[in-house]
Amino acid sequence: MTGYLVRRLLESALILLGITFVTFVLLYMVPADPARQIAGRSATAATVANIRDQLGLNDPLLVQYGRYLAGLLQGDMGRSYLQRAEVSTLIAARLPASLMLMVTAIVTELVIGLTIGVVAALRRNRAADHSLMIFSFVAISAPQFVIGILLLYVFAVQLGWFPIGGYGTPAHFVLPSITLGLLGAGWYSRMMRSSMIEVLGQDLVRTARAKGLSRLRIVTRHVMPNAILPIIAMIGIDIGLFMSGIVVVESVFGWPGIGQLAWQAIQRVDIPVIMGVTMVSATAIVLGNLLADLVAPLIDPRIKTK
């Protein structure tokens, strides 16, 4: 078990190293010039060249990458070009808000998605099933900014139940979590439904019925645990999806997280901040997958971590 964990952590480190390189190369190739952004519109060519030189932007790609990596290994993510602050400080200030939003959104999508999936499977091909599947279809297809604005308009502006934006109290979490979680809820409800239907047709359910067990017990003890197995791995992958959603949702709700930070940095070619946010989200995805792989054997005794 310890061996497995060490091996997986080493693998994760390698993956992250690969991601730093790919992201760095991509940002290097972007046609916008960060130096011109910093210098402003009225700056002379000499000033821009001077800034380029200061930032080391004239060095060859590999030299720049080596410099960045050396800093990263010492815990230094560099300084923002525009905000006059360490990237690590900027991220640290905003990360908690994003992480908490992610946790509440995951809970939201699992609760809504799995419940819908179970109910739809048990009511297969009946009215309840059809209407729930239409709901999940809408949840998957509607863009998040549309849902977010719609929810804001109805529940914050019209009804006044929740704050319009910002961050602080539990009430602030409700609308962003639902906006962020609805997409996943749509996916999970479909996956859980088909997984449940598959398990319901398996021999083990026939055995459970032949045992004379109650329907509730068959569903909760025999069908659901078996049906949820393929979904666990998906939750790990899902954190990646969240990272893209969080940029949109944080903008709509004025949420002070790293999504907003990333959005501002991208607009202004603030390369150290983009790199930093990318690294943070990549780490989250890698750890999410690792976590899913560690949880799976706790539920399924057939999986062994070696």
């Binding site: 083990l204 045992k211 004379g212 067990l213 645990p225």
Partner: protein, 600 residues
């Protein structure tokens, strides 16, 4: 009611009375009757067998009694099922809960998939005890342990804490039986309980059911396609055909003098060990120097690595096949026999290069060791394979004609009109009509599909056909016809077969020579009659003794307990290899492993 109404034993009141039971299944073409007016009684302590081929309605009967018919497709259209004083037909899900397991229990064909993989044996046993209030929560683990002892599981304390995947098929079926008997039901329905098990394990499970029945006076409804199992177990038999009762009789009467044509043909089609005619047409003389060897295998080993540890290195190996040598002459059938996991199928795959292997395999004199994929291609023309499940080995989205033509196209044998002609000719050879070529696999029956697979294999005019359990999934009457076809093709073309099977009676019918395998090694080999009629190795003897005899007057005594043998495994840590057995000659090519290394 043709004589089934009389109570089986001692005039006791029947435990179960089924009258005029009719089950219908909804299809696109309207309701289809799959069980038509079946009536029978089942008395306490009696075993009634429902026998028939696939589609005869025997499993539908069991599911109808248990209230487990697949809803909403199937329903009881007519008739009554009375358990003591309770009418079961029309009883709702809630009403059935007190019946299932508490009064009627059922075990199924597939012990592999019938248990919940996420729950320990103990929890699955306790669950049924507690659900029916058979004992208090604190007593449940103790009761569960006693149940495992009753079904004679080894190390019952350890088994309680294990999960189904940690148990062998036989052990899982014992757990299923323990669950079924937990609440001391009046009736046990066993739906093909041993069909998925090895023959020695089958014998043990049948023994167990008989012993438990004797101790508890349970009435057993045995559902099976296997007339050997019927002869072994039943007091009375009902032969079903296409949902209707064909014949009902006490077991001795049925086997001695079947009254209906169908029952007779069914019994005739059953391969019986020890009755196969001699095979004079083939070069049976074991030392015939003139017969050419089509396949020569020397020191063949197949090992699969099991990875693990920090750097994912190989920590153990499955020694699936270990130092096996054999040859097949032109026009000869070599049978590979053994229980699941003995490596017999792996040898077939090695011949076609489907698994990595070491040693030497020569096909028609050509060494295939070290050949690249491309260089293997001409060799593969000579070796073709026919698999167990014809449904799974045909592509459901291609017409059978395209599938028969495909290998010929790949090998550039024929094209255009010539290809069509050849496909039609192949179809006629395997007894199918050429105008079926444009149909899809689902339009064929199981036996016809296997004929398509044989036609596909014949397309390349191979010298050897590897037949891996090719008739095991077929009904006996169909099985007999496919075996006839294989024999006919052999006679006409001088084909050689490597016939892989677990079924001793089938092997006796087709084989010239027999090789008995266990844990990847050869235990005994030789001419058919020498191995099957005069077996020398204890393992061969045990295999033969376990085959159910389709004659109720020749019932066996209980099998010797073999709990220790079941544990042997072909998995060894890296650096250790299984001890190689050495074969020594008895006479006329009959060779047997020295027993010191393997005797239990």
């Amino acid at each position: 009611m043709s004589g089934t109404g009389d109570t089986g034993r001692g005039g006791a009141r029947p435990a179960l009375e089924v009258r005029d039971l009719t089950v219908q299944v909804a299809t696109e073409a309207g309701a289809k009757t799959v069980l038509d007016g079946l009536s029978f009684d089942l008395s306490p302590g009696e075993t009634l067998a429902l026998a028939g081929e696939s589609g005869s309605g025997k499993s539908m009967t069991a599911l109808a009694i248990m209230g487990l018919l697949p809803k909403p497709m199937a329903r009881i259209a007519n008739g009554s099922i009375r358990l003591g004083g309770t009418e079961l037909s029309g009883l709702g899900e809630r009403g059935y809960r007190g019946i299932r397991s508490a009064r009627i229990a059922m075990i199924f064909q597939e012990p592999m998939t019938s248990l919940n993989p996420l729950m320990t044996v103990e929890r699955q046993l306790c669950e049924v005890l507690l659900e029916h209030g058979a004992c208090r929560r604190a007593e449940a683990p103790g009761r569960a342990l006693r149940l495992l002892r009753d079904v004679r599981l080894t190390e019952p304390e350890r088994r309680l804490k294990q999960y189904p995947h940690e148990l062998s098929g036989g052990m899982r079926q014992r757990v299923m039986i323990a669950i079924a008997l937990a609440c001391e039901p009046e009736i046990l329905i066993a739906d093909e309980p041993t069909t998925a098990l090895d023959v020695t394990v089958q014998a043990e499970i049948l023994d167990l059911i008989r012993a438990l029945q004797r101790d508890h006076g349970t009435a057993v409804l045995m559902i099976t396609h296997d007339m050997g199992v019927v002869a072994e177990m039943a007091d009375r038999v009902i032969v079903l055909r296409a949902g209707r009762q064909e014949e009902a009789a006490p077991v001795e009467t049925l086997f001695a003098a079947p009254r209906t044509e169908y029952a007779r043909s069914l019994l005739d089609a059953v391969p019986r060990l020890g009755t196969a005619p001699p095979r004079p047409t083939t070069p049976d003389a074991p030392d015939a120097p003139d017969a050419r060897n089509v396949v020569e295998v020397e020191d063949l080993s197949v090992r699969f690595d099991i990875a693990g540890g920090l750097l994912n290195r190989t920590v153990a190996r499955v020694h699936a096949v270990e130092g096996v040598s054999f040859h097949i002459r032109a026009g000869e059938t070599l049978a590979l026999v053994g229980e699941s996991g003995c490596g017999k199928s792996t040898i077939g795959k090695a011949l076609l290069g489907l698994v990595p292997w070491q040693g030497s395999i020569r096909i028609d004199g050509v060494e295939t060791q070290g050949r690249s994929r491309a260089a293997m291609r001409p060799v593969l023309r000579d070796v073709q394979m026919v698999f167990q499940d014809p449904g799974a080995s045909l592509d459901s989205r291609m017409t059978v004609g395209e599938q028969v033509a495909e290998p010929m196209k790949v090998h550039g044998i024929a094209r255009g009109a010539e290809l069509t002609d050849r496909c039609e000719w192949l179809f006629r050879r395997v007894g199918l009509s050429p105008d079926m070529l444009s149909r899809y696999p689902h339009e064929f029956s199981g036996g016809q599909r296997q004929r398509v697979c044989i036609a596909r294999a014949l397309g390349l005019s191979p010298k050897v056909i590897v037949a891996d359990e090719s008739v095991s999934a077929l009904d006996v009457s169909v099985q007999a016809r496919v075996l006839d076809l294989l024999a006919e093709l052999q006679e006409q073309d001088g084909l050689s077969y490597l016939f892989i099977s677990h079924d001793m009676a089938v092997i006796e019918q087709v084989a010239d020579r027999v090789t008995v395998m266990r844990l990847g090694q050869v235990m005994e080999e030789g001419p058919r009659d020498a191995v099957l009629r005069d077996p020398r190795h204890p393992y061969t003897k045990r295999l033969l003794a376990a085959v159910p005899v389709p004659d109720p007057t020749l019932r066996r005594g209980p099998m010797p307990d073999t709990a220790g043998i079941e544990e042997a495994s072909p998995i060894f840590p890296v650096g250790r290899a299984p001890e190689r057995v050495t074969l020594h000659d008895l006479a006329r090519g009959h060779r047997v492993a020295r027993q010191a290394a393997t005797a239990p």
